[in-house]
């Protein structure tokens, strides 16, 4: 049965049967030759990968190109300061007032030991030592004409120690202050005031005064200040610090709110103590080495390099294609017209091409970049303008190729045929001549794409192309202008450079492969 059918088939097949002779269209021949070229295939694969990486990768990547990342870093930061009190503190009794020069007078009296003194306003005072650097101040009032007729009235307690209540807003009574300061000066373990029993716990020259076993007030010869105004230093903390100061320790530990021990480092500068602590601080995660979160690391602005490479790839590829598209359109029109009409038109247009060809392109781009800088053009406007300018300078090459091709095609028989059939000039140029130039155009365009990407990268590298925050491969490499980055953070600039190289190389491979495929003459 099968053999019978085969027999039938063979009978039906003729010599000129399309199924018998495998006919390849010219386009298929070109494609076949192209795909036989290994380099061209490599180029195609690279370009497809680049497109996927830039466009699909950019869409899938969770990070955006201008997202700044932060990290926490442990830094030794100032936590609190403590200074020895070198001026007397006064606690005045209710209803009493002190003269203005009491500070200096007390100081002199205490240091010279002459406990009687007269203030500037003429009143007499007397100090009575209660203990070390703690005095009771009396005002001496005359009660009679004799020098003996003097009454002492207690008006204040002066001390080089300060006394503060633990509870915020609570004012300590004069009586309590006096009792506490006296007790501390005498280093008494306990004392009573107004019928309440207090105990004191000493550390260095300070003491914590406890009422009913809980901290009530703090007496110290040191003034404590937290660096952050929000932080409140507890009495127990101050006591621990005082103890460490007294022991001459370089650090001490104190539990924080959660109960874990925190180490504090003490720096002593002539009686001024600085307490520092390792604190976690939020900083920009710049030049982070490649890690799980940032596969390519981060750049100097703390932005994810992988995301920037993806978005930079979009810009580079986009600019390449847009510029080449504009170039091809202008070049084909001008070249086609010049080649077809010849004569004066050709002469004029080709001189225009020559003029534009002579304008040095790189300095021109630099000048335009600095003009855009001056007018502070927004980043997107820069990209569009860059495309237009590059195309306006670059189309002359295509115009020359198209003209050259059309000049030779014009003389061929098929063009005479089109003329004889009365086809309009426009159709003759763009329907019959230009399609014959397309092979050269494609080759030129694929190689030109690489050139455009290179130029854009160079401009961005010089800081005149794509600007921050928009990313571009060239502007990523721009970081090497800082020698520190070049030396220590190779991961910042190497991938971007390799991407440029690979993309341009791939376009050149493709262009080379296409040229060979279109032009089999060279294949001999």
């Amino acid at each position: 049965m099968g053999a019978e059918k085969e027999e039938l088939n063979r009978e039906e097949m003729h010599l000129d049967d399309a199924a018998r002779v495998k006919v390849l269209s010219p386009g298929m021949m070109v494609a076949k030759r192209f795909f036989r070229n290994r380099l061209a295939i490599v180029g195609m694969v690279i370009i497809i990968c680049m497109f996927l990486f830039s466009f699909l990768g950019g869409a899938l990547n969770p990070y955006s190109q201008s997202q700044v990342f932060y990290t926490t870093e442990v830094m030794l930061k100032d936590y609190a300061g403590a200074a020895e009190i070198d001026q007397y503190n006064f606690v005045t009794a209710e209803g009493e007032s002190l003269p203005k020069d009491i500070y200096s007078k007390t100081m002199i009296a205490a240091s010279t030991g002459k406990y009687d003194f007269t203030s500037r306003d003429g009143a007499d005072y007397r100090l009575e030592p209660l203990g070390e650097e703690t005095y009771l101040i009396y005002i001496l009032e005359k009660t009679g004409p004799k020098p003996k007729d003097i009454a002492e009235r207690e008006i204040a307690v002066a001390s080089l120690k300060s006394i503060t209540a633990d509870a915020a807003g609570e004012t300590l009574s004069y009586e309590f202050c006096k009792a506490a300061l006296t007790a501390v000066a005498e280093e008494a373990e306990s004392f009573s005031c107004d019928g309440v029993e207090y105990t004191s716990e000493f550390a260095g020259h300070g003491a914590m005064i406890k009422k009913d076993a809980s901290s009530y007030a703090f007496v110290s010869d040191m003034n404590f200040n937290a660096v952050n105004s929000g932080t409140k230093l507890s009495t127990a903390y101050k006591l621990a610090a005082l103890e460490a100061f007294d022991a001459g320790a370089e650090s001490f530990t104190y539990p924080d709110a959660d109960g874990s021990e925190v180490t504090y480092i003490i720096q002593n500068k002539n009686g001024q103590y600085l307490i520092r602590k390792n604190q976690e601080t939020k900083v920009i995660d710049d030049y982070a080495f490649p890690s799980k979160e940032h596969v390519f690391g981060t750049d100097g602005n703390g932005m994810d390099l992988l995301a920037r490479l993806m978005y930079g790839g979009r810009i580079s590829l986009l600019i390449g294609f847009v510029v080449i598209a504009i170039e091809v359109v202008i070049g084909t029109i001008v070249g086609g017209i010049a080649g077809f009409f010849g004569g004066a038109t050709d002469n004029l247009l080709m001189r225009l091409v020559d003029v534009i060809y002579c304008i040095p392109s790189l300095p021109l781009f630099l000048i335009l970049g600095s003009i855009m800088d001056y007018y502070q053009a927004p980043p997107t406007a820069r990209i569009y303008l860059l495309c237009v300018v590059m195309a306006v300078i670059g189309w002359v090459g295509i115009a020359r190729i198209v003209r050259g091709q059309i000049l030779s095609l014009r003389e061929q028989e098929f063009m005479i045929a089109t003329e004889a059939t009365g086809i309009s000039v426009r159709r003759r140029i763009f329907k019959h001549l230009v399609p014959n130039v397309i092979p050269q155009l494609i080759v030129f365009a694929s190689m030109g794409l690489g050139d455009v990407i290179l130029t854009e990268a160079t401009l961005s590298f010089l800081g005149l192309g794509i600007k921050y925050p928009a990313a571009s491969w060239g502007s990523i490499i721009n970081a090497v202008n800082d020698v520190n980055v070049m030396t220590n953070y190779v991961f910042v600039w190497l991938p971007a450079g390799m991407f440029i190289l690979l993309t341009v190389l791939a376009f050149n491979f493709i262009g080379d492969g296409l040229r060979d495929a279109f032009d089999p003459k060279m294949k001999r």
Partner: protein, 328 residues
């Protein structure tokens, strides 16, 4: 021949006129922050004129007060007498500055040009001799990599490897720190040593084009009838290649080389800037960044002249070297 050269020269002059007009128009769009800064500085002096008056005076002095066309003709009438005026940024006549810096660029260009020729011509011929061999593929890939390498990236890699990692060369500049205390010969060697990385950069970046050019032309020659004839006569392959083929390949190569001679003076802007070599490219780069309009104008026109000169030389050489080309 004389008529041909004369005609090409005349066309070049006309082209140059229009090119410089376009360049001048663009230059006039440049931000004139230099003039404004200068006027601001002058106006702050004790007893000085107001800022507006200074701006007006400086603009008049630099020919910025008249329209583009009139300004252009004023510039042109001076330029044809080789008077390009004074550079704003460098504070000296432009031609003096040009004379100071051009030789750096020239020797940089010359060294890489020679290196390019020495490497590209043999490799291109070797590739063409055995088309589709391993050699051919290698040369093609090397050439395409050279074309595709961004010069700034390649320069950075060179700096990273040879200056930072190996420490063989300085990162940038033309002289080392001890330059003053060296003998004359040592000084020369010192400068030469500083030129090594830039020369390599320029060579590698521009070698690809020449390699491919040589290969294509050699292939064309090898496919021609007289080579087949030579082989048919039984000549040894070395004689066919070196005598018959190579001489004919020289025609396009000489044309290309002649045409690129003027380009030796154009300077390599990016490379010079990266290696801080005070050539014409670097000087112009700084001038562009500083808005030094007279110097940039001069440089642009200078480059245009070089391009035209290159085309002219190539055309003349083509006609002179190859008797088959008819002068039309």
């Amino acid at each position: 021949m004389k008529k041909f050269i004369l005609k090409r020269l005349l066309i070049s002059v006309v082209l140059l006129f229009f090119v410089s007009l376009i360049i001048y128009t663009i230059m006039r769009c440049m931000p004139t922050s230099y003039v404004e800064n200068q006027a601001r500085a002058l106006a702050t002096r004790p007893g000085a004129k107001s800022y507006q008056e200074w701006v007006a005076q400086l603009n008049a002095q630099y020919g910025m007060d008249v329209g583009v066309l009139r300004g252009y003709f004023r510039w042109l009438s001076r330029a044809v007498r080789l008077d390009f005026g004074d550079s704003w940024f460098w504070n000296q006549p432009i031609l003096d500055k040009f004379r100071d810096v051009i030789w750096y660029s020239f020797f940089l260009g010359l060294a890489s040009f020679i290196l390019e020729m020495v490497i590209a011509i043999p490799l291109g011929i070797a590739a063409a001799r055995k088309q589709y061999s391993m050699t051919d593929y290698t040369v093609t890939v090397i050439a395409l990599i050279g074309i595709s390498l961004p010069s700034f990236f390649f320069a950075t890699i060179l700096k990273y490897v040879f200056s930072i990692k190996l420490g063989w060369f300085d990162l940038s500049g033309t002289v080392s720190r001890m330059h003053q205390s060296m003998t004359e010969f040592q000084q020369l060697m010192d400068i030469a040593k500083h030129m090594i990385l830039p020369v390599i950069t320029i060579t590698v970046v521009s070698i690809g084009g020449m390699m491919r050019y040589v290969r294509t032309n050699m292939l064309e020659v090898l496919n021609s009838d007289y080579i087949r004839t030579a082989r048919a006569k039984g000549l040894p392959e070395s004689r066919v290649i070196n005598h018959h083929a190579f001489r004919n390949t020289l025609i396009p190569i000489v044309t290309l080389l002649g045409g690129s001679l003027p380009a030796l003076f154009s300077g390599a802007m990016i490379t010079e800037q990266l290696f801080q070599i005070p050539g014409i490219g670097y000087t112009s780069y700084v001038s562009i960044m500083q808005g030094d309009i007279p110097f940039v104008m001069f440089y642009m026109v200078f480059l245009a002249v070089l391009t035209l000169l290159g085309n002219l030389i190539a055309d003349i050489l083509y006609a002179a070297v190859d008797p088959r080309v008819r002068v039309s």
